[in-house]
């Protein structure tokens, strides 16, 4: 599906401007996307893995009180959950800022460059 967004760059391109090579642009987009994805997965893994690791190593230590009846275990679970929410929202925001505009550019350029360009690994 073609997205109908236009950018300011379309209207204010300098004379002699040449769009970047699509294959290079695709590779750059892929690298950015991979970087964001691996950061998100690391954060999610840490958010679940750390409380799980603490549960296996500290044992009853997680039942220690932190504030009234609130325990250290509850605190780690709360922090883990909030970290996952924050990481997901960060990922979406980063993709919207860094990847979506480039994907839109490439999508507009795709029909002009023909399928052969897009087959480059």
């Amino acid at each position: 599906m073609q997205r109908e967004t236009t950018t300011m760059h379309d209207q204010y391109r300098p004379p002699g401007f040449r769009p970047p090579d699509p294959a290079v642009a695709v590779n750059r987009l892929r690298r950015t996307s991979e970087r964001l994805r691996s950061r998100l997965l690391t954060l999610v893994l840490a958010a679940v893995g750390i409380p799980l690791l603490l549960a296996q190593t500290l044992g009853d230590g997680l039942a220690a009180s932190v504030f009234g009846p609130f325990t250290f275990g509850m605190l780690t679970l709360c922090v883990g959950s909030l970290a996952m929410v924050a990481a997901s929202l960060w990922y979406d925001r980063s993709c919207r800022t860094l990847c979506d505009p480039r994907a839109d550019e490439l999508q507009r350029a795709a029909p002009k460059s023909g399928p052969a360009v897009w087959r480059r690994p």
């Binding site: 695709v26 999610v44 009846p69 325990t71 979406d92 993709c95």
Partner: protein, 538 residues
């Protein structure tokens, strides 16, 4: 007692729950009837013509992550096991967080079945067939589990304790839901999911607020009361109450969390739901919003579980069900003093609508795989016209639904732990590695894919059969009187997931990538990144 006599028997004080059930059925039927009018094409029936907005997709995704088992088991798990129950709830949040980076590439493939998504990377009917086999192998056990739980819960709500009552409820609910799925397609199913999320979230929040009001709106008092009723804070809020403190118990608990986090992430109904978004970025945004919703919901569910721990005794919970699946109802009964109050009716209604939407989603997913992959692509080689494919899909919905209902009734007295554990482990061990490799790994080959899917299926079946959930694991085993188990873990994901990834890697290393596979990878990578629609329908 014969089934006819059960239907004719009168049960006192059930006017409110019965009226609520009827209201849910009528509203759901109207939704499906209204949505079904437009289901003329394959894209309409299975993906709502890719028209779901971010808000609707997020709500529907949230609904997909809240099956009946989550609603009834998590509350019981938290009420009985304290910290361990809470840890499992947090793992469920991780499941949807794992979907976030996958949602956009999955939607960008333009396919809606597992076989279709995999076929976008590797051509040929073997890929479609493997996708169909895996989808059915995951959906069928889950359908049996959901229908069994739905029948038990409905019989409990209606106060029908006579033998065979739960089976009758399973048959009636099953056939009703299957007909909804056949009429409504994805559009109708999405509307029911959205309605379910609103009803269930409202119910859980209301129950939590009622519990807090009993504790004078003081969360600390609620936590102290819950701990005091369950052997003290040092026991209730410490890990180890599910499987104990032994090394095997600890590994089993880690495996359980891995099963919940990885298994729920890419259930086949989720793949179908993601494909109904308008485009890749919207699918990604919807899954991010769903993470927030699920986190709020799990928070409310934890509060409800702690309320159940504070207000219902352990013996009362265990006397009804060993896994505490009726805790939510017992809590509602504790508030209203019986099965006639508004709160109990709300809880009953929430459980009913949850069962309805979950089973409808699973039926739709299995029928999509059978009609689109098996019939249209493998058997007819893409020559079937759209109208005929939709008719076959409706027939597949009915056939799959009737078979599931029959199996659910036949296996009603058996333990369902094995089936749900197997389905979740298979998703985590076969579907997740296959998707991750085919979306992101350049060196993945068709041999690697088939090794992952079929190898993991065999591996999961063997580990499950020779594990304690089938024999030698106490009263919750499938065959409680026998013991032939040699695999020590009840949850097999800790072994089967790495094995699934290993099989894909080994299969790819031992085979050669063809030129066609190289070309398809390059095309698929561009499609995943910028979201071109592929030629043809999925």
């Amino acid at each position: 007692m014969k089934y006819g006599e059960i239907l004719a028997s009168s049960v006192p004080d059930l006017f409110a729950p019965l009226m609520a059930f009827l209201l849910v059925i009528i509203v759901a039927f109207l939704f499906c009837l209204n949505s079904g009018i437009d289901n003329d094409t394959v894209a309409d029936f299975f993906t709502a013509n890719r028209s779901l907005s971010v808000a609707r997709s997020a709500l529907a995704l949230c609904g997909d992550y809240l099956p009946t088992t989550v609603l009834v088991s998590f509350v019981g798990g938290i009420a009985l096991n304290g910290f361990d129950g809470m840890m499992i709830a947090v793992s469920a949040i991780a499941a949807i967080a794992v979907l976030v980076p996958l949602a956009e590439p999955l939607r960008n493939t333009g396919r809606f079945t597992l076989g279709g998504i995999l076929e976008s990377r590797f051509g040929g009917t073997a890929t479609r067939l493997a996708g169909t086999v895996t989808t059915v192998a995951v959906c069928l056990p889950l359908m049996i589990v959901q229908l069994t739980v739905a029948g038990n819960v409905t019989a409990h709500v209606l106060g029908m304790s006579m033998p065979g009552a739960a089976q009758v409820c399973t048959i009636l609910i099953g056939l009703l839901i299957v007909s909804f799925a056949a009429f409504g397609g994805m559009r109708g199913n999405s509307m029911i999911e959205i309605g379910k999320v609103i009803v269930v979230f409202g119910t859980v929040v209301t129950v939590s607020c009622a519990a807090l009001s009993r504790s004078h709106w003081d969360l600390a008092t609620l936590l102290e009361t819950a701990a005091a009723h369950k052997g003290g804070a040092n026991f209730f809020y410490a890990p180890g109450s599910v499987y104990g403190h032994t090394t095997t118990g600890k590994l089993d608990f880690v495996s359980l969390c891995a099963t919940v986090a990885l298994g729920s992430a890419v259930f086949p109904p989720i793949l179908l739901r993601v494909s109904a978004s308008r485009n890749g970025p919207e699918a990604r945004r919807a899954s991010s919003v769903a993470v927030v919703m699920i986190t709020l919901f799990q928070g409310a569910l934890i509060l409800t579980g702690l309320s159940a721990a504070a207000m219902v005794s352990t013996s009362a919970i265990l006397s009804e069900d060993l896994q505490g699946q009726t805790s939510l109802f017992l809590l509602a009964e504790a508030f209203t003093g019986g099965t006639t109050g508004l709160l109990f009716t709300m809880v009953a209604c929430a459980a009913f609508v949850t069962a309805l939407s979950t089973v409808a989603g699973l039926t739709l997913t299995a029928s999509a795989s059978l009609a689109h992959d098996l019939y249209a692509r493998v058997w007819r080689r893409g020559a079937a016209d759209e109208g005929r494919e939709v008719n076959v899909a409706r027939a597949a919905v009915m056939a799959f639904g009737v078979i599931s209902v029959y199996l659910a009734v036949a296996l009603h007295s058996w333990s369902i732990v094995t089936l749900s554990s197997f389905a979740a482990a298979l998703t985590a061990s076969a579907i997740l590695p296959a998707l991750v490799y085919s979306l992101f790994w350049k060196g993945f080959t068709r041999t690697g894919l088939l090794w992952t899917l079929y190898g993991s299926l065999v591996c999961c079946a063997v580990l499950e059969i020779f594990g304690p959930t089938v024999s030698g694991g106490g009263p919750l085993s499938l065959l409680p009187g026998q013991d032939f188990h040699w695999f020590p873990l009840r949850n097999i994901a800790l072994v089967s997931v790495p094995l699934g990834f290993l099989l894909g890697w080994a299969g790819s290393l031992l085979s050669r990538r063809s030129q066609d596979e190289r070309n398809r990878y390059a095309e698929a990578q561009t499609t995943l990144l910028i979201g071109h629609e592929p030629v043809g329908q999925g």
